[in-house]
């Protein structure tokens, strides 16, 4: 086992987060954090230490099947103590396959990753975020890293080593990829939902919330009156008892009073936040964070603040 912790993600931004996680883990075992690249180096992928380029696949756009095989071949030679992979959908797949190929354990969606030199430890949320579990796995191990938990590393990479893992013939062939249209996001699988209620005064004001949803990489939803009674939005936007049931990470209710029929559809959301002018609105009882105020002031303020942070 070499004293190295590998970091990989097919997504550049996430790769930088995983790099930070790798640095933290490596510190605990006085090991080296190495950012792994497959196919070719990516400009935007930073690395606090060395980079390892796995040559063989032609481009960095690899499927999880190819990524797992490339990582497995390289790991069999170099034997790193831990391989951390960003917990995107593709990353989860790559990590699980890698663990199976190497016959090692796999921690998933970890935050607070660390090691004492013999085991890899992490924390993660289970049971819909109600319970925090502390996990451990004997080294060598694979883990996926919770997206959005670690700050992005910003150091310029040091030296780059190269390993040729040879050509890889995947069973699954990618034939195309399209961006999901904003708005066409299925509310049930959306991670962030900005939801409009009757506090929105007219149909023409809806783009305001739609933009906010876009800024947050989320989808727009609404309370029933906006779709069923006023017809401002199609029915599939309507959340609640008689509409869709959603379970996003963040549900932001804007100008929604919070009647039970609406709450019934959002109860599984991880975090509920609300903006409402009425401090006694029932929505605040059902929210984690509430802002008492006018949506026409707060939404622009939020957009401004978001833009400033990007």
């Amino acid at each position: 086992m070499s004293p190295a912790v590998w970091a990989y993600s097919e997504n550049e931004g996430v790769s930088n987060e995983v790099a930070s996680a790798a640095v933290e883990v490596a510190e605990g075992a006085s090991a080296e954090a190495v950012v792994v690249e497959i196919g070719a180096l990516r400009e935007g992928a930073r690395s606090p230490g060395a980079k390892l380029l796995l040559k063989g696949p032609a481009s960095p756009q690899v499927s999880p099947e190819v990524a797992a095989e490339a990582l497995a071949r390289a790991a069999k030679q170099a034997a790193p103590m831990a391989i951390l992979i960003g917990a995107t959908r593709n990353g989860r797949e790559a990590a699980s396959r890698l663990a199976a190929k190497l016959s090692v354990g796999c921690l998933s969606d970890g935050s607070k990753l660390g090691t004492d030199g013999s085991t890899l430890t992490a924390e993660r949320n289970v049971f819909a975020g109600k319970v925090v579990a502390k996990l451990s796995c004997p080294l060598p191990a694979v883990a996926t890293v919770k997206v959005g938990h670690y700050a992005r590393a910003d150091a310029a990479p040091g030296e780059t080593r190269e390993v040729d893992v040879g050509p890889i013939q995947p069973l699954v062939r990618v034939v195309g990829r399209e961006k999901k249209a904003a708005g066409a996001v299925d509310l049930r699988s959306a991670k962030v939902i900005v939801s409009a209620g009757r506090g929105v005064k007219k149909k023409e004001d809806l783009p305001l919330l739609e933009e906010l949803a876009k800024d947050m990489h989320g989808a727009l939803g609404c309370s029933r009156p906006l779709s069923s009674d006023l017809g401002w939005l199609p029915e599939e936007y309507h959340i609640g008892l008689t509409g869709v049931t959603v379970r996003p990470d963040l549900y932001l209710a804007v100008g929604i009073s919070g009647q039970l029929q609406h709450i019934a559809g959002i109860k599984d959301s991880k975090i509920v936040a609300a903006i409402n002018t009425d401090k006694d609105a029932p929505i605040f009882q059902a929210s984690d964070y509430g802002v008492v105020g006018d949506l026409y002031q707060l939404v622009p303020a939020l957009r401004k603040a978001l833009a400033a942070r990007r």
């Binding site: 009156p225 069923s228 009674d229 029915e235 008892l241 008689t242 509409g243 869709v244 049931t245 009647q259 039970l260 029929q261 019934a264 109860k267 029932p282």
Partner: protein, 606 residues
Amino acid sequence: MAALDFGYLTVYLLSLASVVFAGLMVVRRSKATSVSIGPRRLLGLAKDETRRLMSGDPVFLMHLSIALGIGVTIANAVMDPGMGYLYPLKVLFLVVSVPLTAGLIASFVWRVQVYSRSKKEERKLGASGKFTSASTFLQVVLMLAIGLTTSELVLLWFPSMVYADLLLGALRNSLVAVYYSRPSVNLVGGFDRPLSALKTPFNLADVMSGKTDASQISVGVSKVSEFDRSQRLTFDSCVEIGACEAACPATAAGRPLSPRVLVRKVSLLARGPDAGASPFSAVGEDELWSCTSCGACMASCPVSVKHLDIIYELRRDLVTKGKVDKEKAALLENLAQSQNPYGLKNASRADWAREVGVGTLASEPGAEYLYWVGCISSFDQRAQRIARALSKILRQAGVSFAILGGEEMCVGDPARRLGEEGRYQELALQNIEKLNSYGVRKIIATCPHCYNTLKNEYPQFGGNYDVVYHTQLISDLIREGKVKVPPEKVQSISVTLHDACYASRYNSVFDEPREILGATVSDVREMGRRKEKTFCCGAGGSNYWYKVPQQKSIAGIRAEEASETGAKTVATECPFCLSMLDDATKVAETGMDVRDVAEIVADCIS
């Protein structure tokens, strides 16, 4: 009178034969369907008809004219040879023939209107040409029967026209024999069947104990041949009177349902060549989901057709085949997993009660009454105010009561009306076990669906309780002086009462809330459709939990009716009605206040 005139004899015998033919047909049909038409049933029917008549229903007035018109003309025809000796009777017939003729003419005019409305509905629903002509045919037969009877009554005045009279009578009697013997039998057999009566395809307790083999159970109807004999009789009895269509809130809202069309479609299919035909070859899914189970169709039907039999059987089939959309599936999942339709933690049912210090039976086992709160008043913040109001009233009156709290489960009505009989019975059995374990005797309910289920449906599964509706108990308490409304506390507001279908139509509770309002508010106004003829709020039959395509909302129609009275407040007696009308009055921006009767009372006591 020409003695032994051969021509007359032929005509008379023909007329007599037609009467016998009609009589025999009725007897044959009653035998074939095992419906007894003994004197006791007939007397009961007469009483029931009188009751309906007294309620001033114009449809029944017209039907009485038709029935009596037929009776008088038959009696006249049969006695015709002896009329010389029965002169006073003849005079009587002549006298009654005047109002009857008026009634029959009114009926005819009404039929013409029904005809044009029914054709309009059929066009809206996209009924097939075959269906439309079958329907037109029956309506024409009915108009013909009315026309013939009217002519006979008129001809009574012209003794010289006796041949024509008898011949017209014979023709009419033959129509009665062929087309109206079935509805007559159905009426005698079904007039007193309670609206809440539902066929129970299995008994879950027996299935669980192994007494019934689960694999032998079939639920719902997937082939027309699977309707049982009494169900066949009821829908084959439809003669296109059309009263149901006029009463149905789903039809009024432009939903894809007319109870008349539904029943006739199924009847025509069942009489068709293919006994294995699926009812869904004629009936659409949304047609079934459109029904609110309000019972207006059945209550208005002069021949006792049970439309809901079809609806429940076919909904059961849809549920069995998994043909429910995500809202209905979510409702059923929630009932299965959380024992309430919201899918909320059932343990939090008593949160409202803890805040106001209402105890549970677990802590107060000696309480006289169990207050059955129901899901909506347990969880919905608005409806919780009803529970709080009732608690305040009962406290003031010194009535000892407690709730089940987290041990209460959904009564099961939403599952049953949606067609998931198994889940209903599971909930019912668990609730009954709990109630019996506490030795509960008396129950108060503020939700008419809970009330109806506890009172009328639980006994079949071993739950026998003395169930009272909150409006009944409160009006008693006011009358007995246990709840005092001092004159200065009487509210000067104008109120109109919206009767809940499951309280008023299903269970004849409608005078009590009016007594309460009489004692608590200054100005009570009535809507046209009230008491057992109330118009649904749109929530029943599980409609609260899903959407149906419609042109306007049922609650919106009702809110408009309420606002037309000029009243500023709509008094409700059901938490679902409250929720629906609250929503509808807001959408329509009528500025009306919607409150439960109990809330009004609670505001009048200190």
